[in-house]
Symmetry: D2
Subunit: 309 residues, 4 copies
Amino acid sequence: MPDSYAYLGPAGTFTQQALLMIPEVRDGEQVPMAGVPAVAAAVRSGETTYGLMPLENSVEGPVSVTTDELVVGEPLQIVREVFLPVSFVLAAREPLELDAIKTVVSHPHAHGQTRAWVQQHLPNAQTVVASSTAEAAVLVGNGEYDASISARIAADNNGLHILAEQVEDTTGAVTRFALLSLPGTPGEVTGNDRTSFVVHIRQEQPGALSGVLIELASRAINLTRIESRPWRERVGEYHFILECEGHVSDPRVGDALAALHRTCRDVRFLGSYPRGDRQNEQLPDDATDHAFVEAAQWLAGVRRDGASS
Amino acid sequence: MPDSYAYLGPAGTFTQQALLMIPEVRDGEQVPMAGVPAVAAAVRSGETTYGLMPLENSVEGPVSVTTDELVVGEPLQIVREVFLPVSFVLAAREPLELDAIKTVVSHPHAHGQTRAWVQQHLPNAQTVVASSTAEAAVLVGNGEYDASISARIAADNNGLHILAEQVEDTTGAVTRFALLSLPGTPGEVTGNDRTSFVVHIRQEQPGALSGVLIELASRAINLTRIESRPWRERVGEYHFILECEGHVSDPRVGDALAALHRTCRDVRFLGSYPRGDRQNEQLPDDATDHAFVEAAQWLAGVRRDGASS
Amino acid sequence: MPDSYAYLGPAGTFTQQALLMIPEVRDGEQVPMAGVPAVAAAVRSGETTYGLMPLENSVEGPVSVTTDELVVGEPLQIVREVFLPVSFVLAAREPLELDAIKTVVSHPHAHGQTRAWVQQHLPNAQTVVASSTAEAAVLVGNGEYDASISARIAADNNGLHILAEQVEDTTGAVTRFALLSLPGTPGEVTGNDRTSFVVHIRQEQPGALSGVLIELASRAINLTRIESRPWRERVGEYHFILECEGHVSDPRVGDALAALHRTCRDVRFLGSYPRGDRQNEQLPDDATDHAFVEAAQWLAGVRRDGASS
Amino acid sequence: MPDSYAYLGPAGTFTQQALLMIPEVRDGEQVPMAGVPAVAAAVRSGETTYGLMPLENSVEGPVSVTTDELVVGEPLQIVREVFLPVSFVLAAREPLELDAIKTVVSHPHAHGQTRAWVQQHLPNAQTVVASSTAEAAVLVGNGEYDASISARIAADNNGLHILAEQVEDTTGAVTRFALLSLPGTPGEVTGNDRTSFVVHIRQEQPGALSGVLIELASRAINLTRIESRPWRERVGEYHFILECEGHVSDPRVGDALAALHRTCRDVRFLGSYPRGDRQNEQLPDDATDHAFVEAAQWLAGVRRDGASS
């Protein structure tokens, strides 16, 4: 049976565009869902094998929804990350001159991110809102409005003509997506991995978080993200979502996670997976696998044979 | 001339509802703006005295926009924070039975947050999207749709009847707003203050961030928020938005900020202002104003008179 | 064959007195040596099973000699520590009135530590120096001088009469001795152990030593002694002699030593042995054996099964 | 009136030899004292202007006596340090062949440090002990013994002939001496200074000492010495004698000392004085005087004018 992939729908969202960057998806089934919680629920219930949702910097919706799904409720595991440059196209049913466009439909966020371009190039067009950029393209395909602003995939899905590309006011935005599954043995160590986890600090005490970071720094583990989230039920307690270089099977990362598990109120492992953006930093000599193995051997020798030169 | 307050509009948003929680606003002018950048621009240009924008956990839009305004561009200063419970009302032009509602209009995010309630209570209604919850109430006021889901203030602004309150699926959400001005002398120390600042780490090196947190922890300064943001222009460099207890005029906070200014690539002070949620922690003896003053006096004595018993 | 015990001689020193506090010594052979290096050499060559030498605060001679034996050369291992209150007796061949004493012989250090008492009680006596307090008692036993100042054991060895006890000017001094053997499996964990080791820091860099101490502190390991020693061959490099609570077989201590072995230029384990003075501190919950075992199990589970609630 | 200098006597000790390395001493009065406490007392009472005593690694006697004088009792201040290579000479009243020497007199420590040389070159000589190496030379000058082992100065003082130099078994030993005065304004900053101080930790708690070292490391202050000393009156509390690069008038050192004064039970400043051995490390950019001044100016600006770019 082929794998199935729930994603933040409807069809034609940036999330679907990101999904299609995963080669295996072409042999699987794509299942659009109405919201991040629905994607999470589909994976948890076994309805789909995987779920794709935006993690950071998305224009499709607030990523705190994703964070909350990862932090609370039944565990899910990140098995892959995908980076997608965020870029909008202006599209219509037919090739059109820009001044022939009277109505432009899109999601409010996309309108916000293309406002300057639209004011300059379509000064007389009326803006109309849709519930998603994907739906905007559908509405144009149906002939309800003249042009849509959406991901390229939505224009393609609806057979629209691309009138202009990169119509966003600020270029360079990238959204990071997480592919989630039920918990399972983490994937192979690739040497360029990332590990995500959640730490629940014992108290809002000075030094508690610096203690967490020292456990990472003393093992030469680079942080790539940190975000505090208040702990709903207990005033003054915090969750921290942390992401770092390395794989839970790397000695230094495992050693650090075990130390955090021992000293923090709670640690939730969210996954170790190949890094999708760039190379991890070069490891210093005292943080290589070899250094950890050698130290463990030395300790075993000392415990068995005592002092050595 | 009265003070003027730009806010994330249109009229009837949760941001306006938060604005009205500030007593002085009633004597001032309220100026709705189309987007967070426009609010920031109004304050920077002097068009308005203040600007209110959501900082955290908003349902009105992505707060990363606010963060980015604070982190880059011309400096703005937080002079006040406002916490607003996020709660939606269902409203119509006339008192209606729920099963008489055929169309419900709202912003896509608000639809997302009330989906279960709507499915249960309005199973046959069609959902329609508007560019904001405020506009949704306007459209209902205009007779275009039967009912809107919005902040209470939008319903009130448009003379609607409240059909149901607290229609959100999850209760307890709170949005935190920041009132911004041009830079100026921070307000008085109240003893229950918060300080916000941005730190730009020299390198993505292990220990750089833990070093920052140790400067805070060693002065018994509680962190209340931390968030990493990649530094757009330089790969592998990060900004961290940090918020802590205390006021820049408190010795311990000033001392810590000066240390960070010295050791980090850059520190941007964002403001010290009364805390809007709850009391700061009790200070330990070695972090009181007295302890800092006493230590400075001791040092001056040693530099002048040498060793003492 | 009975165990043999080299000690810092000659017979009658405080070191011999300390040696006799070890019950097993009564069934063994006692071998006085002329100097700490000779004691070390006897153990290293197998001439004796054990060697006893002063570690700290001795009045018999400079303890840095002991430290240097432990830090460089062929490894030795501390298997026991003995604390001995340092107290001197005034002794003579016959019961004498104090004013009949014309000559008082002792080691220069012992003269220094009893100067006020002697000036008060023996104002007319001439002080004579011997190469050790033990030899002083021998000389009095031989009739060369009237009285000696020495350890009680030296008076007893030579059949002298004790004329006065506790003639030291300052009471409360204690010397700590180490019983050394060739390296071997450390003794059993008793729950009240001490561990001694030497750390060679990579460079005289700020933070190198604080990094060492953080590895201990983050595992709730109390330091009981620290001493820096310059590294003879390399300017600007240091050895640190460290002693802490706990046993190398305790998870937290072993874990810390392995981390130091990984991050420092060199770590030399000197021994884990029952603490001779007082009880170790109560362990916090996150540093118990159970906490370490539980963290290791959690990590194994995560590596095998992935995320868990 | 010329300055007077108490020193650890008698005349002819290594301490006197070290004293003569201070140019100003030639115009002053030299006052030998019988013990380190007597030197300290002479300075405290005003009997002499200065006092010289060995601090580290001496062969003349236990330096813990010096440490204890600095740590407890009325404050004294280190105003200068002197390094003296420790080297012994064999001397006699007349030029002699070595095999004509029947008796060799010295302090027991000096005998210990020249044992191998004496066994090789004077196999038939009898060793005799004196209360100091200085006295040994006096005794040879008086004709009581054939040869003495002492500092060169003692041989010179007594008009002896040097028969052999560097007769110590291990070369390279150096003793460090401290010149003490009553407390007073520390000397000028030279750019190559050392600062000595004593820290009394609040409790024997894990992390207390690492906290101290972090205050130094975070300001890029190199430690040059650390030594723990138990606190006599309170079990489980410790003094730490610390020495670091820099001068109390350097911003980074003053800042660190003030922080320690605030967070530790007690800090005793012992002096800032020119370093006598080698150059301090190069300062990183974030620890220069300029960096501290600039940070203080920035803080003053923020407190006055608020946020700045």
